[in-house]
Amino acid sequence: MTTYDEETRDMNEPVSEDSTELGSLDASLAVGVAPKKQLGFGFWLSTFWVVLITLLAVLAPILPIKDPTENYIITETTENLRGDLVEKPVQPPYSLDGNHWMGTDKDARDMLSRSIFGARISLAVGFITALFGLLVGGALGMLAGYFKGWADKIISSIFIISLSFPGLILAILVVALLDRSLWTVSITIGVLAVAPVGRLARAQTITFAEREFVIAAEALGAKRSRIIVREMLPNVLIPMATLSMLVVAIAIVAEGALAFLGLSVQKSATWGKLILIGSDINTLESAPWIAFGPIIFLFFTVASLNYMSDRLRDFYDVRDAYDLYD
């Protein structure tokens, strides 16, 4: 037994969302029994999906799946008008069957493998965008938040201006004027991500810069650089990391929107492009699987990333809501 006893009750539990019956006392608060925070099954399921789809995308060329560009035209033997038996190609698209698990598109290409190959570009755009946005936005935001003053004024103005531009218009403008390569698209969306990410980084930095442990560190004689690296960074990184998943999700959606307008990566099919191809009224009516297959892939991926971000935000108790950037 130590001289001083443990006080196990954590008196600083945040208000839980449990049982908000119009201001009623929360059970856990009332009795000091806080439920343990968990990421939950959904989080791991989401992680599983994201990892799975990422692996599929990376390994797509060596996976035993169909060639995404091959036209798998089926032929059948029918009688022609003269009564001769002739081999005739069957008009695609082919519906879902054992051979094509997600059916084929109008060009008799396997939708499953196209969706998997589509993930390559969509995810690549997502990750590159997030990386760019986080590096640039995070660095700018932290600079602005920590040093304040002129740096903050200038950087914040840049953020505001960039936020006032309608993002998607800017994106289609750039993409339409420049070549439509993976990098152009990614960096364009990445640039759009800089301001929102930067603002979060700035807000977080300011929040933490005001916290007393920073003063304590300063009082201990820590240098500025040390405070930034040891005290601020670990705290800003967590929200940034949770945000990064959201940015990936948003980038995938933004790329999808560009692709849907016919303005994304030219060379290969992304999810957005696949959806676009299946989205006209005729195709929707006769072969809805062409659009809905990739929609499901896209939806699950985006939802998973969103959910992971959401859970992590709760888990790490990152207070700032940041689902502002769409």
Binding site: D18, D26, P166, L170, L177, G256, I275, F299, L324, D326
Partner: protein, 346 residues
Amino acid sequence: MKRLLGLGLLLTVISMITFAAMNLLGDPLFNILGPVAEDVDNPDSVKLIEEAKEQYYLDKSLPERYVRWAGDFVTGDFGVRFSATGQPPVTDLIKERFPRTLQLMLMAQLIAVGLAIPWAVNAASRANSKTDKASTVTAFAFVSLPNFALAIILFYVFSIRLDWTPDVYTATDPFWGFTHDHKLMQMLLPALTLGMGSAAGYQRLLRTDLITTLQQDFILMARSKGVSRRKVLYKHALRPSLFSLITLAAINIGYLIGGALVVETFFRIPGLGTAVVEAVLREDFPVVLAIVMIVATAFLVFNYLADLLYGVIDPRVREKENYKESIFCSWKRRVEPVDATVEAPT
């Protein structure tokens, strides 16, 4: 007011950047004349070039052109299109297209707010119940569903399978009515597409805020005063929880514009969204410029209005000007009431 001045300044900067970008990104002469602009050996071409330069003031310096453009813009003349005929003038085009987009946005916002508020109130008042969990999952699904995907799903279900809504926008008047001929029905799916996603976002935000509010003592106080449950929810709890929602709704203007590009394109509504896509594709920069400016203005003005609205909703903001900036500072953070040390004496 100082903030209005700031707004104007911001818009000026934005317009300058956009204008410069439009003029520098491409060769404006090339955008008007195409390859002829390069064909300086041919006297015919040279004549065209001269004519175009004069017509578009390309012989003037960029700042001068900007001033000229800005002067026209302020008076509502958005210039001449880079198109086959230069017709209709950008102003006319905007006049023609803008109302449709505005209708779409208003409907979408109405749907979004109209859905989100009762939805969130309902969910928050039963936080963590089965209903709430179900609605959270639903909201999550809608938030994660890109609007082009939602558009396809809605269109597939309501237009193709059920045939409740028309397949196409035909710009038919009148607005009110419930057949396929009425604009209302034609706008319904596009507005729903835009509205549902936003509604889900609003719901999530408002629900969280409401839960926080509902845990406040003043709610308990109101209940102990005998105020009915409904009144507690809508009169006492809702208003102080609206802060973030208003901010988001204002910021959402930008998102809606982005969504309008996609949704208008998918539903074939000739609005600003389709206009800007078309204009970008054919490098019709005066149109792009005008639309960017309209959108940026709308965005900033709505954010400004949101700030004003804060004052209406929360008297604390009305008096102390310490809310400073909303989009300009920290969007989602309500500024805490002033410290006791600064409290006014009586």
